[in-house]
């Protein structure tokens, strides 16, 4: 088995035993990149020089016999929406094509303290707006399971590189499902922590009340290791929450006896692919076999989550993206007539169609005369969606659903109709509105060979139960060991 195929915790054992070096490991990953990246196209920027330097530093630590952190020397890919000091960060937008952050996001500072090896920056939908990574201004990323299909989005690059073994793990960001959905479609583990668990400082803002950073990994153990590294209150993000961060590896318990799992009937309605439904039902049956109790529940406002999301997220985005005006960073138009013309031309030339569409939608929803009918209404609907979950978690410990209503679809299949694309997020946005932690784990393949994801949700800040349930599933099944043929 090649090194690039292993998990972070397996590699840590080998590094610690000095069976391998971090430099050899990084080189193994770059060899794999040379082999399959031309087909997958998951990376926007490769940072080999930096990676080899970081690997060398990790090796020095291991050679000196130091107690090294679990992620020391581990190759990781970073979604190009997270600021990396000195390394171009584009958000897959033309408007930031030349942006080199003068500082690191807090998650990067924390990962560097662990001694990770940064392999590169991954492709995404422009400013994290999309469900297929087709909105990147630079390139299409291809799903390693079927190169003619999309990898999901918006963190499609981060999901695809873990699936294709061109990174051991990666970071993405999830606003309405942008970690969980691509994880499901690429057959890897993807987790959105509770809103407020991870600092957003240095995460380029899309919708500030929803955005959260989280990991893509090959198994649940690696997911816990990354959470241990990145969670915690940060002075630089006043919405990060000051509550103790447990050692998440303590939650890797192979036992769900006595836990109550709720299955919301609204998630198994029209529009759900029957093969996806079969895989998820089989997963739920597995939990029952393992001693959990399963009951049907109702989350009656599920059907309003997309409509609510496509007001709240664009409204926040329209404010957040006002900063791209050609003055302080990024692209500026040539030869503007005056200041206002400079703003308009810069933004119209620099943003792609979907970003413009959302800025327009958000500006409209916040404009005089419409704010109460749209934005205020959506905020109230958000309360109702959140109340559904509050009531459900009075009765059950975990909620199990499909992550995505369908497996990966063909490139180009949904680009003509923005609304069809928005409906991809139907299973993930409700939890986003409520700030819940959610994980997608592989739970089988459909006949065409594409992977299916099982979404698990718990109450806010109960990542421990979430990891325990996901880990138990993984320990008793082999879906996470399936690899694409690429």
């Amino acid at each position: 088995m090649s090194l690039y195929e292993l998990t972070a915790h397996e590699l840590h054992d080998k590094l610690k035993a000095r069976e391998i070096t971090a430099v050899k490991l990084a080189e193994s990953v770059y060899e794999r990149i040379e082999e399959v990246e031309p087909q997958v196209k998951g990376y926007l920027t490769l940072t080999k020089e930096i990676a080899l330097e970081q690997a060398g530093a990790a090796d020095a630590g291991f050679q000196n016999g130091n107690e090294m952190p679990p992620l020391a020397g581990i190759p990781i890919a970073i979604k190009d929406v997270i600021c990396t000091k000195g390394v171009r960060t584009t958000c897959a937008s033309k408007i930031l094509s030349n942006f080199v952050p003068p500082y690191d996001a807090t998650v990067m500072t924390k990962l560097h303290q662990q001694g990770v090896v940064m392999i590169g920056k991954t492709n995404m939908d422009e400013f994290a707006m999309g469900s297929s990574t087709e909105n990147s201004a630079y390139q299409l990323t291809h799903n390693p399971w079927d190169l003619e299909t999309i990898p999901g989005g918006s963190s499609g690059g981060s999901a695809a590189v873990v699936s294709a073994d061109t990174a051991i793990c990666s970071l993405g960001s999830d606003t309405g499902g942008s970690i969980r959905q691509p994880a499901a479609l690429c057959g890897v583990v993807g987790m959105k922590p509770t809103y407020g668990r991870v600092s957003r400082y240095g995460l380029v803002a899309f919708a500030s009340s929803l955005d959260q950073i989280g990991p893509f990994t090959k198994d649940v153990t690696d997911c816990a290791l990354i959470l241990n590294a990145i969670c915690g209150k940060d002075e630089m993000d006043s919405t990060s929450v000051d509550i103790p961060v447990p050692d998440f590896t303590q939650s890797l318990i192979n036992d769900v006896k006595g836990l109550k799992i709720g299955v919301p009937k609204e998630y198994f309605a029209e529009g759900l692919d029957t093969e996806v439904a079969d895989c998820v039902h089989a997963a739920i049956a597995e939990f029952e076999k393992l001693g959990a109790s399963v009951e049907e529940i109702s989350l009656p406002h599920t059907d309003y989550a997309i409509a609510t999301y496509y007001i709240i997220a664009p409204a926040e985005a329209s404010a957040n993206l006002a900063r791209y005006d050609g003055v302080r960073y990024g692209y500026r138009t040539e030869e503007p007539e005056d200041l206002i013309n400079m703003y308009k031309k810069t933004r119209s030339e620099g943003f792609g169609q979907e970003v413009k569409r959302r800025i327009m939608l958000g500006t409209f929803a916040l404009s005089a005369g419409y704010q109460d009918a749209y934005y205020r209404k959506a905020q109230k609907a958000r309360t109702l969606i959140k109340s559904d979950f509050d009531a459900a978690f009075e009765k059950v410990d975990v909620i199990a659903t499909p992550t995505s209503p369908t497996p990966a679809f063909k490139i180009g299949e949904r680009t003509a109709d923005p609304l069809q694309m928005y409906l991809c997020d139907v299973m993930t946005t409700p939890a986003s509105h409520s700030g819940l932690p959610g994980i997608s784990v592989p739970c089988g393949l459909v006949k065409s060979g594409l992977p299916v994801g099982l979404q698990l949700l718990t109450a806010p800040f109960d990542e421990e139960t979430l990891l325990r349930v996901a880990y138990t599933f993984e320990q008793n099944t082999d879906h996470h060991l399936q690899k694409p043929a690429i």
Binding site: Y103, I311, F364, A381
Partner: protein
């Protein structure tokens, strides 16, 4: 809820500091109208007695002690500026001198 016209789209575009040609305006009008029509389903909900959620945690204003800390150096801040000038960001002239 309202529908949106091409005039409405032009008005919103101006607010958002975007500009579109005629064809784009027409496309955006059609797409936004369709999305807003879908969003109209929120009207099915009775929200008269529901309070809005702007944020999921009960956060209120968070203030910091007024202590001077080190900021990024000026050069680092200006390093990404499209047209920095003498240690400042520059913009097209906004004050008419005539």
């Amino acid at each position: 809820m309202a529908t949106i016209t091409t005039e409405g789209v032009s008005h919103v575009a101006n607010l958002a500091r975007l500009e579109f040609n005629e064809e784009e305006t027409k496309d955006f009008t059609e797409q936004l109208a369709r999305i807003l029509d879908y969003i109209g389903k929120l009207n099915e909900l009775d929200t008269d007695d529901v309070s809005p959620t702007s944020h999921i945690h009960p956060l209120h204003n968070i203030t910091k002690a007024d202590v001077v800390k080190t900021s990024l150096p000026r050069d680092a801040v200006l390093s990404n500026a499209p047209e920095p000038e003498e240690g400042y960001f520059s913009v097209p002239r906004v004050i008419d001198t005539e």
